[in-house]
């Protein structure tokens, strides 16, 4: 079981976001939404940004603990 706080903590400790918002779209269906603003994303293609976020939760996504992660990832 994954909780919103855990998702947020992992993002904060890895991506140095200036803002980070995590929402459970449906806890039951294990769908979460993350909106991240970080300097790390400057000049980075959209696919790479999403992959970077996905990689943080690779195990959970593959195991099904997280079914879907809706991602908005932008530089400031």
């Amino acid at each position: 079981m994954v909780v919103v706080a855990e998702i947020e903590a992992r993002i904060r400790s890895n991506l140095e976001p200036t803002s980070c918002e995590v929402t459970a779209i449906s806890e039951e269906d294990r769908k979460y939404s993350v909106a991240i603003v970080s300097h790390i994303f400057e000049g980075m293609p959209l696919l790479k940004r999403h992959r970077m976020v996905n990689d943080l939760f690779k195990e959970e996504l593959l195991s099904g603990d997280i079914h879907a992660l809706t991602i908005v990832a932008n530089p400031p």
Binding site: L46, L47, F57, L61
Partner: protein, 257 residues
């Protein structure tokens, strides 16, 4: 095709046996290449049972008075030889065989239902529908569900080669859960809606059809979820990225449309 057998090749008994085998072969070939006409629920059940041996099945519900049905029939007949021994094609006259229409919950013509042998049940599973005579949707589903007739998994040396082939096919290739007309996940449904809205032509692969592909492609692409959208073998992204690219007005260009 004419066979000539000089009479001295056979004793009478051998000739009879050979002719019987030949006749059966002809019947078999004719049967496979022909559009099946279904005239009863019993016949329909037998057809589905026959297709349950690893084949696909396409059923065209039509009517004699229906003009678009002629175009559908003509198009499907054009695919008979390509999908020989892989897909069965059948036609049901909706006016005459009402119990089959009721069994399949079909209420209009033309209506084309697509079936696949289910991995899990060894029975025909209905996986896609085309309502009306949309020939482009008809073609999309045929190619997406049954390939080109000879590009099955077994014809590739390993999974990676197969995945490379699948992702590199011409145009936009979307790996989705379910099909456009029968999506199994909200993200798949929403992705398809974006494509339709922008007039983006695509083919799909239903990852539910193969656990090997479903799990293998995640590793191949280093992308852990579905849908996954490809152009020229390159991963574009999932629903989120396509949605954001649509909002920014870049999606059609990136999909080379």
């Amino acid at each position: 095709m004419v066979f000539f057998f000089p009479s001295f090749f056979f004793h009478n008994h051998d000739r009879e046996l050979s002719c019987k085998k030949l006749s059966k072969a002809f019947i078999y070939i004719k049967k496979i290449h022909k559009m099946r006409s279904v005239s009863s629920l019993k016949e329909y059940s037998s057809l589905k049972e026959e297709a349950g041996n690893g084949l696909g099945l396409v059923v065209h519900f039509s009517a004699s008075w229906c003009e678009p049905c002629k175009n559908v029939r003509s198009m499907l007949e054009g695919y008979l030889s390509q999908y020989n021994q892989k897909v069965l094609f059948a036609e049901v006259d909706a006016d005459l065989v009402t119990d089959v229409c009721e069994a399949e919950n079909v209420e209009c013509v033309p209506f084309i239902a697509f079936f696949r042998t289910s991995l899990r049940e060894r029975a025909q599973e209905r996986v896609a529908d085309v309502v009306g005579g949309k020939l482009d949707h008809l073609e999309m589903n045929l190619v997406s569900l049954y390939g080109n007739g000879h590009d099955t998994r077994e014809s590739f040396p390993d999974l990676n080669e197969y995945l490379k082939y699948l992702t590199s096919r011409k145009g936009v290739v979307a790996f989705i859960t379910g099909t456009p007309s029968r999506p199994r996940c909200g993200f798949t449904g929403r992705l398809v809606e974006i494509f339709y809205e922008l007039g983006i032509k695509f083919i799909y692969y239903d990852v539910w059809a193969s656990d090997e592909v479903c799990e293998g492609l995640k590793k191949y692409s280093e992308w852990p979820t579905y849908p996954q959208v490809y152009v020229d073998g390159e991963l574009i992204g999932g629903y989120d990225i396509c949605s954001q690219l649509k909002e920014s007005g870049e999606l059609k260009a990136i999909l080379k449309h």
